[in-house]
C-alpha cells in the first residue's frame, strides 16, 4: 500500500466514545497486538468498512505494521474492505438451512432487491443501487433449529418464508 493511497483517503481516528472503549480493551491483554480483532470491529462500526486509513490508524494504535493489519483483515470474512449497504443481509446456506429451503429465501431476496450475491472480493456486486442493502451468503449461523435463517446487521431472523422476507424488507425500507 503506497503512501499516496493513504493520503487521498480521509484520515481516520476513533471518536471519543470508541476511544474510551479502545483504552479499556487494550488493558485486557498482555500484548497490544492481541486487541486486533475487537479494535477492528470497533473501527469498522465507526467507519463502515476498513479503509487503508483505518488500517494505518489501527496499526499505529497497536504498534504493529500496516501489513500485519491487512493480513488479518483479509483473513476474516466479517471485515469489509469495500463500502457496504446500510443493511447487510447475510443468508445462511449451509446444509441444515439448505434442507429447509434457504434457496427459496435467497432467490426471493435476490429478485426483490434486484441484485446479485456479493462475493468476498466483490461486495459491490451484491449491493443495491441505492446503497441500502448488501446481500451475501454466509456459512452456518448456529441456528439450524430455526432454519432457514438470515442476519440483518446484528439481528437474526428465523424460520423465514418469502412472505416473512417481504414483511421484513418493508419494515427496513420505511
Amino acid at each position: 500500500m503506497s503512501e499516496e493511497l493513504i493520503q487521498i483517503e480521509t484520515p481516520f481516528a476513533f471518536n471519543e466514545e470508541n476511544q474510551r472503549e479502545f483504552d479499556e480493551l487494550i488493558g485486557r491483554y498482555p500484548i497490544k497486538e492481541a486487541a486486533m480483532l475487537p479494535t477492528l470491529h470497533l473501527a469498522q462500526r465507526q467507519a463502515g468498512y476498513i479503509t487503508p486509513a483505518v488500517m494505518k490508524y489501527v496499526a499505529e494504535q497497536l504498534e504493529v505494521t500496516v501489513m500485519k493489519v491487512k493480513d488479518v483483515v483479509t483473513f476474516y470474512p466479517m471485515f469489509f474492505e469495500e463500502p457496504v449497504g446500510e443493511y447487510v443481509i447475510r443468508v445462511c446456506h449451509t446444509l441444515p438451512c439448505a434442507l429447509r429451503d434457504c434457496k427459496v429465501v435467497l432467490d426471493h431476496l435476490k429478485a426483490k432487491l434486484d441484485t446479485d450475491i456479493a462475493s468476498e472480493t466483490n461486495l459491490a456486486k451484491g449491493t443495491t443501487a441505492d446503497g441500502k442493502f448488501t446481500l451475501m451468503k454466509v456459512e452456518c449461523l448456529a441456528s439450524c433449529d430455526v432454519a432457514p435463517v438470515i442476519m440483518v446487521n446484528d439481528d437474526l431472523y428465523k424460520n423465514l418464508t418469502p412472505e416473512k422476507v417481504d414483511e421484513l424488507l418493508a419494515k427496513l425500507a420505511s
Binding site: 485486557r28 498482555p30 500484548i31 497486538e33 492481541a34 486487541a35 486486533m36 480483532l37 475487537p38 477492528l40 470491529h41 497497536l62 504493529v64 500485519k68 493480513d71 488479518v72 483473513f75 476474516y76 470474512p77 466479517m78 471485515f79 447475510r90 446456506h93 449451509t94 446444509l95 441444515p96 439448505a98 434442507l99 429447509r100 454466509v138 456459512e139 452456518c140 449461523l141 448456529a142 441456528s143 439450524c144 433449529d145 430455526v146 432454519a147 442476519m151 446484528d154 439481528d155 437474526l156
Partner: protein
C-alpha cells in the same frame, strides 16, 4: 416399540426462566452456590480429581477427557490462561448459543470453578463474531458478576482473583480449532499451529492454556454441586477391552444434542449420553418424511450413518467404534427425498471456503474435491468407456479377482483418492497441520462409499438422480466402510 425417552435437563434446566440472565434470578436458582461450595469445601486439587473421576469428556468436538487435559498443565509456569471456546460454527451445532444468550451466568460459574481448580487468573471467552446478542448478554452478565464481587480481585474475601474478558471472532470457522483460536486471540490470522507443543503446555501468549468448550465448562457446577457419584450415573460406562483387565471408558453426563434437518421439532434436547439415533429422532418429534435416508451424527465433519446404522448409540465411544464421531453433537437428519451428492456438494463448498490455506493438501485438495462433486452434480461426471476386472471377495473367500468386470467411474476414483490424500480415513494419517483435513475427507469418503449408487447414477444419467433409500444405500455386507463397526459392551455387564 421404542420406550419413551424423557429429557433430563441439567444445563438447560432453568434456561427458560424469565430473566435468568440477571444475577438476582440466577442466584434464586442456586446460582454461584456451587462455586461457593467449591471454594469452601474443596482444595483446587480435589476439584481437578472430581472432574477426572466424573469422566467428563470435552463437548467441543474432540471428546477428550477434561480431567486428563487439566493434568497436562504444568503447575510451575504462571500465568496460565483459560480460553473458553464459544466459536460454535460447526454446521448443525447450536447449543452454546442458547447458553450465552439466555443463561450466561452459568458459564461464568463454570469458568470460576475451572479457574479455582487450575489456579488461573485470566479467562478469555472467544465468542463467535456473529453472536451479537450472545455477546451483549454475556458482557452484561460479566459486568454484573464484577459488581457483585464474583469476579475481579479477592473474590468473596478468599484471595482468589479472576478476570473474564469476552473476545469477538470475525467469521472464520477455523478459529474454533483450539490453536487457531489461540492465534486469533493473539491478533493474528486464525491459522492453527503445529502440535506439539499442545496448548496445555504452550498456548496463548506462549503460556500454558486450557481450551474448553462452553458446554464442558457448564457441566462443572453440577459435578461440584451434586457430586461425582450422581454424575456418573448418567450415561453409559463402557469397557475398554484394549487393556486386560478392561478399564472403564466413561461416557457420562448429559449432552445437549442439537438436531436439525428433516425432523418435526428440530432443537436442542438435553439427554443422557448413549441413546440411539432412532430414539433421538423420536424425541425430536419424529421424522419429517417417510424414511430416514441418512444421519450425520456429529456436525458436518462426521462420517455419515445410513439407515442400517440407526441403532448406533450417540455417545463418544459407540460412534468412534462405528467409524464416525459424536463431535459437537450436531445431528442432521435427511429423509428419502434428499440427494446425497447434493448434500455432499453443500458441505464441500463449506470446507473449501473455510480452509485456512496453510497446508497444501488442504488448500488445494478441498476445492478440488468440491469441484469434482460439482462436476458430478452438474451432470458432467467422467466415466470411462472401458471396464476393468472387479476385485472383491472371490469364490475362495479371499480378496481377489471375482471374475466379473465393473465400470470405471473415473471421477469417483479421483474423488476418493484426492480426499484420502488430504487425510487418509483408513489409516487415520494426515499430512496437514490440523484435523480440518480429516473433517473434509471423512464426509467425502463416507458419503461416496455408503451411497455410491447415487453417485454412479448421477454420472451415468448426466444429472442428479435421487434413488429410493434401499437402492441408494450400499448394504453393510458389501461395504468395507461398515465392516470394522463394533458395538461396545457396558462395563457393568462384564
Amino acid at each position: 416399540m421404542i420406550k419413551k425417552i424423557e429429557e433430563r435437563r441439567i444445563l438447560y434446566e432453568h434456561l427458560d426462566v424469565p430473566d435468568i440472565n440477571t444475577f438476582d434470578v440466577f442466584r434464586q436458582y442456586d446460582g454461584y452456590t456451587r462455586f461457593e461450595k467449591a471454594i469452601a469445601e474443596y482444595q483446587p486439587d480435589d476439584i481437578a480429581k472430581m472432574v477426572m473421576d466424573s469422566g467428563l469428556k470435552g463437548r467441543g468436538g474432540a471428546g477428550f477427557s477434561t480431567g486428563l487435559k487439566w493434568s497436562f498443565v504444568p503447575k510451575d509456569i504462571k500465568p496460565c490462561y483459560l480460553c473458553c471456546n464459544a466459536d460454535e460454527s460447526e454446521p448443525g451445532t447450536f447449543s452454546n448459543r442458547y447458553v450465552l444468550e439466555k443463561n450466561p451466568h452459568l458459564l461464568i460459574e463454570g469458568i470460576l470453578i475451572c479457574c479455582y481448580a487450575m489456579g488461573i487468573e485470566t479467562t478469555y471467552i472467544y465468542i463467535r463474531g456473529e453472536f451479537t446478542l450472545g455477546k451483549k448478554m454475556l458482557d452484561a452478565a460479566i459486568k454484573e458478576a464484577y459488581e457483585k464481587g464474583y469476579l475481579g480481585k479477592d473474590i468473596r474475601g478468599t484471595g482468589l482473583n479472576v478476570d473474564i474478558y469476552s473476545h469477538p471472532g470475525a467469521g472464520a470457522y477455523i478459529c474454533g480449532e483450539e490453536t487457531g483460536l489461540i492465534e486469533s486471540l493473539e491478533g493474528k490470522r486464525g491459522q492453527p499451529r503445529n502440535k506439539p507443543p499442545f496448548p496445555a503446555v504452550e498456548g496463548v501468549f506462549m503460556k500454558p492454556t486450557v481450551v474448553q468448550n462452553v458446554e464442558t465448562l457448564c457441566n462443572l457446577p453440577f459435578i461440584v454441586g451434586n457430586g461425582v457419584e450422581w454424575y456418573t450415573q448418567m450415561g453409559p460406562t463402557y469397557a475398554d477391552t484394549r487393556s486386560d483387565p478392561p478399564t472403564p471408558d466413561p461416557n457420562t453426563g448429559t449432552k445437549l444434542y442439537c438436531i436439525s434437518g428433516d425432523v418435526n421439532e428440530p432443537g436442542v434436547y438435553e439427554l443422557d449420553l448413549g441413546l440411539t439415533c432412532t430414539e433421538l429422532i423420536e424425541v425430536a418429534g419424529g421424522l419429517r418424511g417417510e424414511e430416514v435416508k441418512a444421519v450425520i451424527p456429529g456436525g458436518s465433519s462426521a462420517p455419515i450413518l445410513t439407515h442400517y446404522e440407526l441403532d448406533t448409540r450417540l455417545d463418544f465411544t459407540s460412534l468412534t467404534l462405528a467409524k464416525s464421531m459424536l463431535g459437537s453433537g450436531g445431528i442432521i437428519v435427511m429423509n428419502e427425498t434428499r440427494n446425497i451428492v447434493d448434500c455432499l456438494l453443500n458441505i464441500m463448498k463449506f470446507y473449501a471456503h473455510e480452509s485456512c490455506g496453510q497446508c497444501t493438501p488442504c488448500r488445494w485438495g478441498t476445492p478440488w474435491v468440491r469441484d469434482i462433486v460439482q462436476r458430478i452434480a452438474d451432470g458432467n461426471g467422467r466415466k470411462d468407456t472401458i471396464t476393468r476386472p472387479k476385485f472383491g471377495v472371490a469364490e475362495n473367500g479371499r480378496w481377489g479377482d471375482t471374475g466379473e468386470t465393473e465400470d470405471i467411474y473415473e471421477d469417483l476414483d479421483l474423488l476418493e483418492s484426492v480426499a484420502n490424500n488430504i487425510a487418509n480415513v483408513d489409516t487415520m494419517t494426515w499430512n496437514t497441520i490440523c484435523v480440518f483435513g480429516i473433517a473434509v475427507s471423512w464426509p467425502a469418503v463416507s458419503y461416496l462409499r455408503k451411497f455410491r449408487p447415487e453417485f454412479e447414477a448421477a454420472i451415468r444419467e448426466g444429472k442428479l438422480v435421487t434413488l429410493p433409500v434401499a437402492e441408494a444405500t450400499v448394504p453393510p455386507e458389501e461395504n468395507y466402510a461398515y465392516q470394522q463397526r463394533f458395538i461396545p459392551k457396558e462395563f457393568a455387564d462384564l
